[in-house]
Symmetry: C2
Subunit: 552 residues, 2 copies
């Protein structure tokens, strides 16, 4: 009869959970030993838990099924928390396995004792369970899998005491049924159809699962038929885009710009999305972005079949035969001269290979990326769903493991890259086809903007130094080399293009350090807050024109 | 009138909290701006929150007063959790400041929204407070300081909503009074004196504050007078040791060895310590290490004056004039030949400068460190109090900032170093006199031992690969260079000694990568579990002799 860990492992692989991103310790040794009993389980070691959890997140976004994690006690969970938060906000399924002390060891308050369930609840509000007995572990695992891959997807945390794991008498559980989400009700579909046909100013706001091809196509048909706008949430979990697909306009990160996008709308229809709010609060500004005069409707909630519900609306309004507007193919030219963040984005658009996966955590440096890649070959875009930086490099690991035949291009800010820089080692160890592009502008550029946006006016040297990554300069190519990743550094557009072409032509991983000036020069930065303040008051056409200059 | 952040800052510095280890985001921008209003506040930027919290821990251990942290929302707190856990277990005072969204932004569930209080409770069971109003922020800060530096020291978490921080009408609070811990009661002192005079086999077990010179001297007098043993907890918060100080025998990490240390004791007297338990649970083994026949007494709890209480016992038993046994000066010779972990420890003992601070997170590679440095010049030793690895490099930052005139030597395992490798950048930025020695044995060596100790017998390649850091090899000297730290690599004892001499003679920071074989060879590793199993059954003198071969 198998022990607990073996039953757990079999339950996982039988349900199709075939990758485990791990950072184990002593209490997880029986899980580790059980890896050898399950040829179908791939174990990917990370040097830091935030890498493991972020990789599980990226994997599930691309594989459309969960991976498992393996974390060591409450402290390991703490280290993995930020990227589990991002997964939670992106409604991404993860079977989050956290080892614990043996049940009889817990009351002794040994050095590593902490309250795991409490910490887990923060990222797993829907499913936290400590398995109490070896005989129940298989069933607990199946329940965790079912919870993770439900609608909406979630981080399901299974806490695994060492003695439950090593005990004899494990029983593998059969795979839980796949979820079958419901369509929006006929009444809802009719009501939404009426709004679309009203002739008012209407926008669809698509989130999460609504940003995949079937839902995008249905939305584009509705847009063409009824003259409505299609918006996407600011940070998509996974957005299918590029030549041949419908385009959507992402809500801007800067609340001032988002205000312009939503200005004048009569009706906003939510599809697996929430009413947009500003990322942060700012003194004297409202956090809600939807105009007070705009009616908010819900077509499909995250627990419903969003593509099917959109299709039902298409059928109800007779938009089925409408030709949607699709993005024509087109790439920007080859950039030249001194490297800037914009030229990096241009080079990515110029060279993006077929079926690429773009991981965008470039913060300010990536502002031009959406525009530069709009007409590039069809690709997937993964973004920072929960705002907890340090997601991009780990996400790239998971995406590359989920889709080994697709190139992964990760664009990452310098400050951001340092949160989970250990990811590079796992990329090298697993020979992943990832090209990581690090924008080295030597500052927390976004915070320089935010400092002024929050109205912290009198800014001295000590404050500035908190946002500044100069002294010492980070050398990312060297960091990559120290972890076994091929790393190069580019100061000119020509060098960058050469390095990127090399990376695309040779098996990865690669890291290209793009040395760029701060995305917003001092002068632009000084103007920006005033400009943003003025924006909502400007005549709409002027505001839109300015917005096009400023926004992604 | 100051705003909230300015009142907070003034309250901190007036109470002597003069260093802030920070990793801020948008919601903390007013705190950042307020730095320039307080010349007495030093702000030290970290690239990762675990570095900031670990630095605050190391600082407080050496400064004997708390620093502040500045973390960004719940995710930043999550990233800092592991080292806050270590601080909690070491009873180390930290004023842990976590920025939050503006109070009115919280209900909107924006991207970075999470439940901060819940996560904080794990490491701050004694003090978590969200400041509700600008006028109260000064008082809340004073309360947090008082809680942090109480007896025992603790991590006090103050959650700082952005609008409370930016609001007008802040009022700085006067410094809270310093704590005045009580002595053990006269009855307790008399009872302990009687135990010491009983002629039975008695040991003192010293923890936390009892490992500083006054308590050590009092204990050594009692040892000399009454023929008792003096033990120290396995992972001291801060241990004063070296030539001229009394020695204490640390409880071994391996439960089997600890069992031998405690074997045959009639009475164990706790001084700011708990009854020792094994670090982890092992199948079929008891977790409690104190023999069932041993009486456990408490002289002083963590909320009492431990040195004063020990002195009261000295007075009660007339040991005041007894001459304590002190460690004679003495250093090991210069190591030669192929480098091993033991030779690194030998070189450290051979060269340790006066008044050094040793941070020991070398796990298996540091086994010989205590022996090799026992007679070195007087120094402080900081260890992994909570078992959450990734503490050493951040602790070294804090220790160096607390004691700028003392050299800090941090001995770190390779696996461990990678958890908070970003610490190197802060060391370079702040020009800290730290020499980080990384034992590069290319494995999680301790886990190879643990895998067998937990009885996970059939170990295959996949399991082994989870404990193995080969492929790609980490190159720590290069990683150091990539973050602006002078890094060298040593394969021979001669090279290591040369690099260490250079590091001691030149301003830091330095990193020396010591390339060493796994601390326990395959053969030794295979024997170890059997040996450990046999140990408690062997005749005491033989077990002790073996223990001396195996233990620190």
């Amino acid at each position: 009869m198998p022990n607990g860990a073996q039953a757990l492992m079999k339950t996982l692989v039988d349900a199709g959970v075939e990758v485990c991103f791990s950072n184990p310790g002593t209490s997880e040794m029986h899980f580790v030993a059980a890896l050898d009993d399950e040829p179908k389980m791939r174990a990917v070691l990370a040097l830091f838990e935030g890498v493991a959890t972020g990789a599980a997140d990226g994997y599930a976004r691309m594989a459309d099924k969960p991976a498992a994690t393996l974390l060591h006690l409450g402290c390991g969970l703490g280290n993995g928390l930020a990227n589990l938060h991002n997964a939670r906000k992106g409604k991404v399924p993860i079977v989050n396995i956290v080892g614990d002390h043996a049940t009889y060891h817990v009351p002794l308050d040994a050095q590593l004792q902490s309250d795991i369930e409490t910490v887990a609840r923060n990222v797993s509000p829907g499913f936290v369970r400590t398995s109490k007995a070896t005989a129940e572990l298989g069933r607990d695992t199946a329940d965790a899998i079912a919870a993770a891959r439900g609608y909406p997807g979630q981080v399901a945390t299974l806490i695994l005491p060492a003695d439950v794991s090593w005990g004899d008498g494990g029983v593998a559980a059969p795979p839980p049924p796949l979820p079958a989400p419901k369509l929006a009700s006929a009444d809802t579909v009719q009501a939404i159809a009426k709004v679309l046909q009203s002739g008012r100013k209407v926008a669809l706001l698509l989130g999460c699962r609504a940003l995949r091809e079937p839902a995008l196509l249905a939305s584009a048909k509705l847009a063409a038929k009824h003259g409505i706008k299609v918006l996407a949430e600011v940070f998509p979990t996974r957005l299918e885009r590029g030549a041949g697909l419908p385009t959507v306009e992402r809500i801007a990160y800067l609340a001032e710009l988002a205000g312009v996008q939503l200005n004048g709308l009569d009706d906003l229809i939510l599809v697996d999305a929430k009413p947009p709010v500003s990322f942060f609060a700012y003194p004297g500004k409202a956090s809600e972005l939807v105009p007070k005069t705009c009616n908010v409707h819900v077509l499909a909630k995250p627990d419903e079949d969003v593509a099917g519900s959109l299709q039902a609306v298409v059928d109800a309004t007779g938009a089925g035969s409408t030709t949607p507007v699709l993005q024509p193919a087109g790439r920007p030219g080859r950039p030249r001269g001194r490297l800037t963040a914009e030229k990096v984005c241009k080079a990515v658009g110029h060279l993006l290979p077929e079926r690429a996966i773009i991981v965008d955590e470039a913060i300010t440096s990536g502002l031009m990326l959406p525009m530069m890649t709009a007409g590039a070959p069809r690709h997937d875009l993964i973004t920072l769903t929960g705002g907890a930086i340090g997601q991009g490099l780990p996400n790239a690991i998971g995406a590359a493991i989920a889709c080994p035949d697709r190139p992964v291009i990760a664009l990452i800010g310098d400050g951001t890259a340092m949160y989970t820089i250990q990811a590079l080692w796992t990329m090298a160890r697993e020979h992943l086809n990832v090209t990581a592009i690090i924008f080295n502008n030597r500052s927390y550029s976004v915070l320089n903007v935010e400092l002024e946006r929050v109205g912290a006016e009198r800014i001295g040297d000590k404050a500035r130094s908190q946002l500044d990554l100069n002294g010492p300069n980070l050398e990312f190519a060297r960091l990559a080399q120290g972890m076994g990743v091929h790393g190069t550094r580019a100061d000119t557009a020509e060098d960058f293009v050469k390095a990127f072409e090399y990376a695309l032509a040779h098996p990865g991983p690669h890291l290209i350090e793009a040395v760029v000036p701060e995305s917003l020069s001092g002068a632009k930065r000084a103007i920006l807050p005033h400009l943003l303040r003025a924006l909502p008051k400007l005549p709409a056409p002027l505001a839109r024109a300015l917005k096009r200059k400023l926004a992604p």
